[in-house]
């Protein structure tokens, strides 16, 4: 990967020298803001409540238009982290590492949103903020797993070691997601009470439109956050590398200053 921000490259992706925004990200951000307003109108006002069956969700179905899209965005983010990790291990270029790091962080934010919206939905449906629902439980574990990934990134100081170790962890964590999901699913299916209503009402017409709209928006929001986060990560890596160069130059200058006037009587 090449630098996303070479100053000489004019056009859509050229960044402001003091920030992470570019013309492209500003346009995307503005479109996103307008689209979110429209989405809220569709999701909260114009789409009908769920009345398809006896145990239908009513107005509660509206939380799905946010919950399912952010859940999909968080899986997308972790998939991108895993792919970027694999690419890093193959190519060993820092751009892939920055992409993996940025995507994991954005993914954690979306996972938190997934948990929060799921919990709010659970509160009104089950009467409790937390139920040992397989999906909630495995999402919570995934959340902790990627917090660990971010913790590892903060713990390793050497950039090359950090990139390599986090790339391996990013891959292993992603492999672990289905294992956790499968085992928790199996675990709860043995105990699950039949009265707990499932999170899959019949979706069609306007409701389907609202859900699809939400998904597009969540993925666009992911892309917008990624643009900024990736550029920040890249800039951090540049500063880190520059800081190392500066420190090296300083030590060299010190060494030269020490060794230049060779004291008499000392043979080195």
């Amino acid at each position: 990967m090449t630098s996303p921000s070479t100053g000489s490259r004019a056009g859509f992706l050229r960044m402001h020298p003091d920030g992470t925004a570019s013309y492209g990200s500003r346009v995307l951000g503005s479109v996103l803001l307008v689209a979110i307003a429209l989405f809220l109108l569709v999701a909260l006002v114009t789409s009908p409540p769920d009345t398809s069956e006896a145990d239908a969700m009513g107005d509660l179905v509206r939380i799905m238009y946010v919950h399912v899209p952010v859940a999909i965005a968080c899986y997308t983010a972790f998939l991108v982290t895993a792919l970027a990790s694999a690419m890093y291990l193959w190519k060993r270029t820092e751009g892939w590492d920055a992409l993996a790091a940025a995507s994991a962080e954005v993914g954690v934010v979306f996972t938190a949103l997934t948990l929060a919206t799921g919990s709010i939905w659970g509160h009104t449906t089950w009467g409790t903020w937390w139920e040992w629902d397989p999906r909630l439980t495995s999402t919570a574990l995934m959340f902790v797993m990627y917090l660990g990934y971010l913790a590892l990134r903060r713990a390793v100081i050497d950039p090359v070691s950090r990139a390599k170790q986090s790339a391996i962890l990013g891959l292993v964590a992603f492999v672990n997601v289905p294992i956790v999901h499968f085992s928790v699913d199996w675990w709860r299916s043995l105990h699950q009470k039949a009265t707990i209503s499932r999170f899959d009402p019949a979706i069609e017409g306007q409701k389907l439109f609202a859900l699809m709209f939400g998904m597009v928006l969540a993925l666009l929001a992911y892309a917008w956050l990624m643009l900024h986060r990736f550029r920040l990560q890249w800039a951090e890596a540049q500063v880190e590398a520059k800081g190392l160069d500066v420190a090296l130059a300083e030590r060299r200058a010190e060494a030269r200053a020490d060794s230049d006037p060779i004291p008499e009587g000392v043979n080195s």
């Binding site: 902790v144 391996i168 962890l169 492999v175 672990n176 294992i179 085992s183």
Partner: protein
């Protein structure tokens, strides 16, 4: 690879034999956890007996953390990691050796814990074949994942705090599966138990494979 693994296991066991850290620290710790569980859950025998499988594996999990930290603490002092890398041993062999060392320590702890829960929690074990298979498969999985994450965290200054947050979510399925399998064995309903046991074996196999391939680059960085 297997010869190198045997060498590493032999070294770790010799270290253990001379220092007796497992005997003098890990076993008392595991038994202490059993006592603490009884304090936390009111030593009303009904609750403890009912929760025995979960408490047993939770105690094993905590002990494993200590065993992993110990297994890699002995490698990180005095630049031993560099010596290991220069020794010409196959990294996959080192991984298997470390994992086998941790597994052997854990088996000793599990036997002690098994006696502990039988005596202290008043549970009578049943379904011995399922119990043994589950214990072996779960131990292999814990040790393989532990060896992998142990070397990942080994070179870091924050390893003692980082290891639990990295490793525990990964082995959460092992806790789940082993607990369910033990519960099935205790209830003499071994049908579901064998399925969980299969999951444990698959987990152990998967993490052994990951470790065999990922250990070399991780060892380079630790």
């Amino acid at each position: 690879m297997l010869r190198d693994a045997r060498l590493v296991v032999g070294k770790d066991l010799r270290l253990e034999w001379r220092s007796r850290v497992t005997i003098s620290q890990l076993l008392p710790f595991a038994l202490l956890v059993l006592v603490l569980f009884a304090f936390a859950l009111d030593p009303d025998r009904e609750i403890l007996a009912e929760a025995t499988p979960g408490l047993f594996w939770l105690a094993v999990l905590f002990s494993t953390l200590l065993a992993i930290q110990r297994a890699f603490a002995v490698e990180t002092v005095d630049g031993i990691v560099d010596a290991l890398r220069l020794s010409g041993l196959d990294p996959a062999g080192i991984f298997l050796g470390k994992a086998a060392g941790i597994a052997l320590h854990l088996l000793v702890v599990e036997v002690a814990l098994g006696v502990g829960v039988t005596v202290m929690y008043g549970t009578s074990p049943s379904g011995p074949l399922l119990l043994v298979c589950t214990a072996l498969a779960a131990t292999a999985g814990l040790a393989a994942a532990g060896s992998l994450y142990g070397v990942l965290a080994a070179g870091l200054r924050v390893r003692d705090t980082l290891l639990p947050i990295l490793w525990l979510p990964v082995v959460a399925p092992v806790l789940l599966a082993a607990t369910e399998a033990f519960a099935a064995a205790y209830d003499q309903a071994s049908g579901a138990g064998w399925r969980w046991c299969g999951l444990l074996a698959a987990f152990a196999l998967l993490y052994s494979l990951i470790g065999i391939f990922a250990f070399e680059p991780l060892l380079e960085e630790s």
